[in-house]
């Protein structure tokens, strides 16, 4: 009896703990769980798409439902799966890598998560209220204005809410990196993952507001009778495309840069060499980010911007291949002559390099604007972006998850199953998408519900669908691995991979204050330096003292909930306006509460540290 009661209280308090937490390590777990949930959802949608296209003239799902599934697959994977999973990694390790006790804005960090989460839920409520958005993840006007029902409104408002969350999350990481580095952690000693997360956050800051405006205009047109995209009243549909891609192209680099960062950590660790060309890696990252803002119109070559604009954007796009190539060669040179350990994160990295390179090559093909008239809106484009997104971002996310799993949870995922996961997923991936290049070149347009028999498209579509099943099975192996590992709950030490950077200097999982004393960083790969020149422990940079910690807060949850409720009012209007009133009042009220209630945090006193057990950390 008493144990069950205890367990119950335990569950309730754990739930409350996560609802109110401002600890970056717990927020990482929230992002991970929510991101995996949406990843599975998006994966199921992908399976529906591939089953529909398994054979010509198939009637597995209806045309309307196909459009909805297709739209939600793209939207979910980009905004609700890839982004939060990367945020999970950033939250879990970025503060540890720079030797910080927390992020700059713990409260904002939590708020960012809850806004993303409620935005994602909002988007998915559409399934139950008359249909999901059905106009593609790019929601081009005027199609997005003609779409009936409220699907596109869910898209606009849901992404608006989660986009704000991403934006403030990005600001939080920027300030964390600028202001919270440990003594000796200069910019040019920061691990590459921190660098790429930092630069990706800068991209978020400058790219997301364009989406914000685009979504506002779409909302105003659809719900409030504005005419931005209505040519009859002087509107211009191309404005949407510009705003969307001014956001959209930087967004793909927001996704890929942190994945680059993951591989730049994994490869040196398992090649037992420092990263080749560290400073050129940093330089290439910054250059990619910079150029990333000047190429958006390569998505609009066929719009008719004219030969001069097309040529400029084509050249700018091709230029991005240069810093990308620098990175590829630096990884190869890091491997060269290293003593390589074939752990699963390393195998992911080795699979990533050729796969991503192929994606980059098709990218340069697409960038030739004249040729793009042929490729555009065909399966060739689909193959391209899956090679870079799945072959780059998704492999990076899983490599990072497996690599940092011990740091996040104190347990090790089963290596054998990890390898099974990799090979099933990797083989399935190439089976699915390699043949889509040819489908595209043969003229199969993307986003179509059906293809016709006897056009030579049957076989490759069938192969593609079979590949998708392999990917699904691989993912199931991973999920099984997670469950089994956490059930067994075998704990590992602080540094199971024999790694190089600061996060491995403290316990797995780290205590909630991270570092009892801030570490003194003496160079790049600080832990490795101490391993080579010292006893393998970080030297403290300060005497033991009181540590300041932020208070937990329920306000981020409530504030986001308010916007979630308000969204329905704005959308359904009429009598439902009351919901908008209630929702906005909740959000405004919690803002006001946050502003007038002092929140100074608390201190852990240095005497209290002694009570903690020795955790094998640097102290």
């Amino acid at each position: 009896m008493s144990t069950t009661a205890n367990n119950k209280a335990g569950f309730g308090s754990a739930l409350w703990d996560y609802l109110t937490t401002v600890d970056h390590k717990k927020i990482a777990i929230l992002y991970l769980v929510a991101g995996m949930f949406f990843f599975i959802l998006g994966g199921l949608q992908a399976m529906l798409i591939r089953i529909q296209l398994i054979s010509p003239d198939n009637e597995f799902i209806s045309a309307q439902f196909y459009n909805e599934v297709l739209t939600m697959h793209g939207t979910t994977m980009i905004f609700l799966a890839a982004m939060p999973l990367l945020f999970a990694l950033m939250n879990a390790v970025l503060p540890l890598q720079i030797g910080a006790r927390d992020v700059a804005f713990p409260f904002i960090n939590a708020l960012g998560f809850w806004l993303f989460f409620f935005g994602g839920i909002f988007l998915n409520v559409s399934w139950f209220t008359g249909g999901a958005p059905d106009v593609g993840w790019t929601a081009y006007a005027p199609l997005s204005l003609f779409s009936e029902g409220h699907g596109v409104d869910y898209y606009a408002i849901g992404l608006q809410i989660s986009g704000i969350g991403t934006l403030i999350g990005g600001i939080n990481f920027i300030v964390t990196v600028v202001n919270m580095r440990a003594p000796g952690m200069t910019y040019m000693r920061m691990p590459l993952f921190t660098w790429t997360a930092f630069i990706a956050s800068v991209l978020i800051l400058f790219a997301f507001p364009a989406l914000t405006v685009g979504l506002f205009l779409l909302t105003f047109d659809r719900l409030f009778g504005a005419h931005f995209f209505n040519p009859d009243m002087g509107g211009n549909v191309i404005i949407w495309e510009h705003l969307f891609w001014i956001f959209g192209h930087p967004e793909v680099y927001i996704l890929i840069l942190p994945a680059f960062g993951v591989f730049s950590e994994v490869i040196p660790t398992f090649a037992k060499k420092r990263l080749f060309g560290y400073s050129s890696m940093v330089f290439a990252t910054v250059l990619i980010a910079f150029l990333g803002f000047m190429v958006w119109a390569h998505h609009m070559f066929t719009v008719g911007l004219g030969p001069i604009a097309n040529s400029i954007f084509a050249v700018a796009t091709m230029a991005i291949a240069v810093p990308t190539g620098i990175k590829i060669f630096n990884w190869l040179f890091t491997l060269w002559g290293g003593s390589i350990r074939m752990t699963s994160p390393m195998v992911f990295a080795l699979g990533f390099i050729p796969t991503f390179t192929i994606g980059g090559m098709t990218g340069v093909m697409l960038a030739s604007s004249a040729a793009d008239y042929q490729y555009h809106d065909s399966y060739f484009v689909v193959a391209h972006f899956h090679y870079v997104i799945v072959g780059g971002v998704v492999l990076g996310i899983f490599a990072g998850l497996i690599y940092w799993w011990p740091k996040m949870f104190g347990t090790m995922l089963n290596e054998k199953l990890n390898h099974w996961f990799f090979w099933l997923f990797f083989f399935g991936f190439h089976l699915t998408f390699f043949f889509q290049h040819f489908l595209g070149l043969m003229g199969m347009p993307r986003r179509y519900w059906k293809f016709l028999p006897d056009q030579g498209l049957d076989l490759f579509n069938l192969i593609s669908t079979i590949g998708a099943f392999f990917m699904a099975i691989g993912t199931i192996v991973f999920l099984y691995n997670v469950v089994v590992t956490q059930m067994k709950n075998v704990k590992v030490g602080p540094d199971p991979w024999d790694a190089r950077t600061l996060e491995w200097a403290i316990a797995s999982p780290p205590p909630f204050y991270n570092f009892k004393q801030l570490p003194l960083v003496r160079g790049l790969d600080p832990l490795w330096i101490e391993k080579m020149e010292n006893n393998g422990r970080m030297q403290p940079a300060e005497p033991l003292g009181d540590v300041h910690m932020p208070n937990n807060s329920f306000v981020p949850f409530v504030m986001s909930l308010g916007l979630f409720i308000a969204g329905f009012g704005v959308m359904y209007q009429g009598g439902m306006w009351i919901l908008a009133g209630i929702g906005f009042a909740i959000t405004a009220g919690s803002l006001l509460y946050r502003s007038i209630k002092d929140d100074l945090g608390y201190h852990i006193h240095k005497e209290d540290f002694d009570k903690e057990e020795g955790d094998g950390s640097n102290g």
């Binding site: 600001i171 202001n179 800051l205 914000t212 405006v213 047109d221 100074l600």
Partner: protein, 205 residues
């Protein structure tokens, strides 16, 4: 130590940046304003693309008059100046004077907002120029309206801070809050200068 944050005596020279929290806020807010810049840049771009797209409705020359917006510009610029005075007094740790100048800033901001509302009402009633009249109308009201909403938010922010801290005076905890609110106010002011130029001045020639 936590209590020190709330004491109002003995402040350092730059109370708004003296603590780690304060300097984080200070820097984070600058970055936020960077994002806001892109937001307004997108709205300006949209407006520029649609400023001649008045369809059947009134065009720019038909509705805009410089007199009113000129007065509004002067008012808002002055309010930026008065908020600088307020921050000057914050750095000299004279809380009363800071509150006074913030009060003047708020009054000017309210006046600006009042004129803006009058302007909109005037356009709608006397010229039948509304949000739904044409693409130009949508773009105009969205751009200027977003700015107006920022002004309203800034006013509420100042008022909240002034009332909340009226009794306890300046300390290390609230100094950064006052400071970033005034940063926000300057930003709004700069945006208005662009609106004045791009929307109204360029609309007249």
């Amino acid at each position: 130590m936590a209590d020190d944050m709330l004491k109002s005596g003995n402040l350092p020279e730059h109370p708004e940046r003296a603590t780690l929290e304060g300097s984080n806020k200070f820097m984070g807010f600058w970055f936020f304003l960077g994002g806001e810049t892109v937001l307004f840049a997108s709205l300006f771009g949209t407006f520029l693309a649609l400023r001649n797209s008045n369809a059947e409705g009134p065009a720019r020359e038909d509705v805009f008059g410089l007199g009113l917006v000129f007065i509004m510009t002067i008012i808002l610029l002055t309010s930026s100046l008065t908020s600088v005075y307020a921050m000057y007094h914050m750095r000299n740790h004279s809380f009363k004077k800071m509150q006074l100048w913030l009060g003047v800033t708020v009054a000017l901001g309210l006046a600006f907002l009042g004129f803006e509302i009058y302007e909109f009402v005037h356009y709608v009633h006397d010229y039948e120029f509304g949000f739904r009249t044409s693409a130009f109308g949508s773009a105009f009201y969205t751009l200027v309206g977003f700015h107006g909403a920022h002004v309203a938010f800034g006013l509420l922010w100042f008022i909240t801070l002034m009332i909340r801290n009226n009794k306890r005076g300046l300390n290390l905890y609230n100094a950064p809050k006052f400071y970033i609110a005034s940063l926000y106010w300057h930003f709004i002011d700069v945006v208005w200068v662009f609106i004045f130029t791009v929307v109204y001045l360029m609309g007249m020639v």
